[in-house]
C-alpha cells in the first residue's frame, strides 16, 4: 500500500478542488435571468438596509402633503376635486358681545405670539401620491418593504429550518422517531391553518417578532412532508450506504451527504413560503394581529387601500402591489436560478 500512496511533490502543489458553492457561483454567473433577479433582490435588500438605518424613508410618518394628495401625473384631476373641498377661513358673524371668553382673546393671542409656529406648506401632489393623512406613499412602501420582506424571509427561513430538520430526522430514522414526528405533523395539519395562526397570534401578541414566530411555527408542515419523503427515498440509496461503509457519522450522512441532494426541495419551498408569508402578514395586519400600529408594512398599506379605493384613491394600492410583485417575481426567479446552479446534473447545458 505504501508504495502506491507516496505523494509526488508535483501533484501536491495543485490547488484543492472547487467546492460545491464555488462551482454553483460560476454557474449562476452565466445565468442571465438569475443574475438580473439577483440584482433586483439585492437592490431590495439594500433598500431595506438603508431604511433600517433611517437613511431612506425615515420620515414616512410625517404628513407632508394634503390628505389623499394624488400622484404628480394625475395632478389636474385632483386639483379640481380639492377646489370643491376648500373651507372658508373666517366667520362672518361677530359674536364678541355674547362670547364670555372674548376679553381673554387678546391675552391668549399675546401668549401664542411667544411661541414660534411654522406653518408647513402641505404639498398638493407627491410623486406617487399620499395616503389619507398626507403621508408619502412611496416612503411608506419603502418602509413597508423593510417590515414585509423581513417578516416574509425570516418566517420562511424559520419554517424551512424547522421543516427540513424535522423532515430529515423523521425520514432518515423512521421507526419511533418518525412515528412521533408524524403525530406532531398530523396535529398541526388537522387544525385549519388560519385558526392555528390566530391561536398563536392571540398568545404571542402584536409585533414583528411575533408575526415571524407565528408564521414560522405554523408554516413548516408542508416542507416537513416533502423533505421527509426525499429523505426516505435517499437514505437507502447506495451512495449513503457507501458513506456509512467508509465510516461517516449519522449526522454527516444526513446533512453532508443527503441534504445537498434534496436541498432543491427546501429552496423551492423557501421561495414559495416567502411569498405566502408576505401574504399571510397582510391578512394578520388587516385583522389587527400583525405588526404594530406605529409600523407600516405592505399588509397595512393594502388594508388601508381598501377604504381608499371606494373614493377612487388607487395609488396606495398600486404602489404597494407593484413593490410586492417586483420583489416576489425576482425572488422566485432567483431561487429557480439558484436551484439550477446547485444541481450539477444540469451542467453541460449552459
Amino acid at each position: 500500500m505504501s508504495a502506491v500512496l507516496v505523494p509526488t511533490p508535483a501533484v501536491a502543489r495543485q490547488t484543492r478542488p472547487w467546492g460545491v458553492w464555488g462551482a454553483a457561483w460560476r454557474r449562476l454567473r452565466s445565468d442571465r435571468v438569475g443574475m438580473v433577479s439577483l440584482a433586483v433582490v439585492g437592490a431590495f435588500l439594500l433598500l431595506i438596509l438603508l431604511a433600517a438605518l433611517g437613511l431612506v424613508a425615515g420620515n414616512w410618518q410625517q404628513e407632508i402633503a394634503l390628505p389623499d394628495a394624488p400622484p404628480a401625473f394625475v395632478e389636474r384631476a385632483a386639483k379640481a376635486a380639492a377646489a370643491t373641498a376648500v373651507v372658508p377661513r373666517r366667520s362672518n358673524v361677530d359674536l364678541s358681545d355674547v362670547d364670555p371668553l372674548a376679553p381673554r382673546y387678546e391675552e391668549w393671542g399675546a401668549g401664542v405670539a411667544k411661541y414660534r409656529t411654522t406653518e408647513v406648506a402641505r404639498r398638493e401632489t407627491l410623486a406617487f401620491g399620499a395616503d389619507r393623512l398626507g403621508r408619502d406613499v412611496l416612503a411608506k412602501a419603502v418602509k413597508g418593504a423593510q417590515i414585509s420582506i423581513f417578516v416574509g424571509v425570516l418566517a420562511a427561513l424559520l419554517a424551512t429550518f424547522i421543516g427540513t430538520v424535522l423532515g430529515a430526522l423523521s425520514g432518515f430514522f423512521g421507526g419511533k422517531v418518525g412515528d412521533g414526528l408524524e403525530w406532531v405533523y398530523n396535529v398541526f395539519t388537522s387544525i385549519p391553518g388560519i385558526l392555528l395562526i390566530f391561536a398563536f397570534a392571540a398568545v404571542a401578541g402584536r409585533g414583528v417578532q411575533s408575526v415571524v414566530l407565528i408564521l414560522g411555527l405554523t408554516g413548516w408542515t408542508g416542507i416537513y412532508r416533502l423533505v421527509r419523503a426525499e429523505f426516505i427515498k435517499h437514505s437507502v440509496r447506495e451512495y449513503v450506504r457507501a458513506a456509512e461503509a467508509i465510516g461517516a457519522s449519522t449526522l454527516s450522512r444526513m446533512f453532508r451527504h443527503i441534504l445537498p441532494n434534496v436541498s432543491h426541495v427546501s429552496l423551492v419551498q423557501l421561495s414559495i413560503h416567502v411569498v405566502s408569508f408576505i401574504k399571510a402578514e397582510v391578512i394578520l395586519s388587516y385583522l389587527g394581529l400583525g405588526v404594530g400600529v406605529d409600523q407600516v408594512s405592505w399588509g397595512t398599506m393594502l388594508a388601508e387601500a381598501q377604504g381608499e379605493l371606494i373614493l377612487g384613491h388607487w395609488w396606495q394600492l398600486a404602489v404597494a402591489t407593484a413593490f410586492m410583485a417586483v420583489f416576489v417575481t425576482a425572488f422566485s426567479l432567483f431561487t429557480d436560478a439558484l436551484r439550477d446552479a446547485l444541481d450539477p446534473k444540469l451542467r453541460g447545458l449552459e
Binding site: P7, V11, P17, R237, E238, R241, A242, G247, R347
Partner: protein
Amino acid sequence: MLLRIEDLRVAFRLGMQRGEMQRVPAVGSAQQGVSFEIPENGTVALVGESGSGKSVTAMAILNLLPENAERSGRVEFLGRDLLTATRPQLQALRGRDIACVFQDPMTSLNPVFSVGRQLCEPLRRHLGLGRREALRRAEALLAEVGMPEPKRRLAAYPHELSGGQQQRVMIAMALACEPKLLIADEPTTALDVTIQRQILELLAGLKARRRMSMLFISHDLGVVGEIADHVVVMRQGTVREQGPVARIFTAPQDAYTQALLACRPTLEQRGARLAVIDDHIAGVEATKTAPIKDPGAPVVIAARALTKSFWLRRGVFGRSEFKAVGRSGEGVSFELRRGHTLGVVGESGSGKTTMGLALLRLHEPSGGPAGGEVLFDGQDLLRLSREDWQPVRRRIQIVFQNPYASLNPRFSIGQTLVEPMAIHGIGRDGTERAARARAILLRVGLDADGALAKYPHEFSGGQRQRIAIARCLTLQPEVLVLDEAVSALDVSVQAQVLNLLKDLQDELGLAYVFISHDLAVVRFMADEVLVMKDGDVVEQAGVAEILEHPRQDYTRRLLSAIPRGYAPGSGVAA
C-alpha cells in the same frame, strides 16, 4: 425481404446555440449510414456495447424515438418506406405487423391494469375482437408463452408475477396480433440466467412455430450466438461487421468483433488477465500465467454460521422474522485468506447481497437480528460496540453494483476521496490527503488532475466504478466486498475493471468477497465459490471443482443455463 434498412442515419437535436442547431449523431457517421436486411423467418441480432446505437436503430424503424430525433435514409418494410409514413400509418403497423418487447418487463407493463386487460387491448384495437373473444384469445396466448394457469393469471396484476412471467406477458402482448416482425430489445438482460434460458427457448420456439422474423438486440454475444441467424456488430453508431452467425463467431474479420469475442470471460479458459478491447486491437496479448497464490496465507475474515433476518410487520404491533440468510438454520460459513477471492453466486433473491452487507453490518440494527459470528482479527464483528467498530470498518470496504448510484452526485471526486481519509485521520492535512487521492486515482487508471474537480455525472460507468474502488482504497482496506461490482458494465469495460481488481489484489494482497450472478466472471475471479439459493448455501468448493464437477442439481442447472455463444449444430432453436 421483410425489412430493408438502407443508409439509416439518426441524429438528436440539442437546441440552438449561437444561432446554430446543435446535433448529436446517434446512428450513422458522416461517410456511411447503417444498412442491413431482415429476411422472412430469420433472426437478425444487433450486437454492441452501450452507446453503439443498436437500440436507436431499432426504435427508428417504428419511429419510437423522442421528438428531437431526425432520421434519414430508407427503412423499407414489405416495400413501403416507413420513414415517410404518416403517424396513423405507423400506428396501424405498430403492434400489428411489427411488435416490440423491451428490456425491463416491470416498467413496460402498466401496474394499475390487470394482465388480461392489457393483453386484450391490442386484440380489440387491431383485430376488432369482442370482449369475450379477446379474453379467450388472451388466455390462449398466455398458454402459448408457457404461463402456468393462464386463466387465473388474466386477473393478476403485474406485481403479482415474477420477472420471467412478466416478460412472458410482454411477449404474449407482442404476439397478440401475429406480427411479421418482433423487435426484442435486450429482452433477457434484466432476468436471472435460468429465466433467461427459458425466455430464449420460448422466443426461438415461437419464431419457428409462427414463421415470423425477429430483430434481437443484445450486448451479450453469448446470447446472440445461440439465437441469431445473422449478426450485425455495431460500435459508435456504425456497423463494424455483419454476416451469418457461424462466420462472425468462427472467422470474425473486424478487429472490434474479434476483440469483443476475446475479452469476455468464459467458463472454459482461465487466464491471469482478460483481453481488453483496445489492447486486443493493438495486438497486445493478455497475460496467461497467474501468480501462484499462497494456500497458507493468513485468514483475514471468517464467518461461522452467519444468519441474517428481517422483521416483517404483522398487524399493528406484531412482527415476524424473515430469514434472508440461513433459512434452513445452518447459515453461511467460510474462511477467506489474504490475497484470495471468495465468489458468491446465486440468482436474485438468494440472499447473496444480504450476506455481503451483513459482513459490514450495513443493515439497520432495528431491521432484524444477525446470528452466528464473523471473525476478523480475532474479534467478532457482529458484536463489536460502536466505538470499537469504527477502526475495524476502515479495513473492510464495499463496492456496489450500480456506479451511477453509489457516488454522491453533489460531491466532486476530490471530496469523495478525501472524506473517508478525513474521517479516519489518514494523512496529516488536506494537502496530503489530496495528494494521496491523486496517487490512488492514477493507480486505478484515471487522469488524476482532471478528475479531482469533476462531479460523478461527468464520468462513464466504468470510470465511476474505478472511482468507487479508489474510494475504498483510500482507507487501505484488507477485505473488499464486491457486490455485483461489474454487472452493470459493458463487456470491454468489465474486462478492464476485472483486470484492475486482479492487479490490486496481487499488489496489495486484498481479499475479495466477490458477489455475482455471472458464473463466468466468478470463474475468472474466484478461488473458492459459494452457491446460494433461497438464503442457503447449496454448494461450497474450489472454483475448478464447482465448475467441472458440480455436485448439486441446482449448480448444474445454473451452469447449463449460461449462454455459451455460437456452437455449430447447437443453439436454442435446434
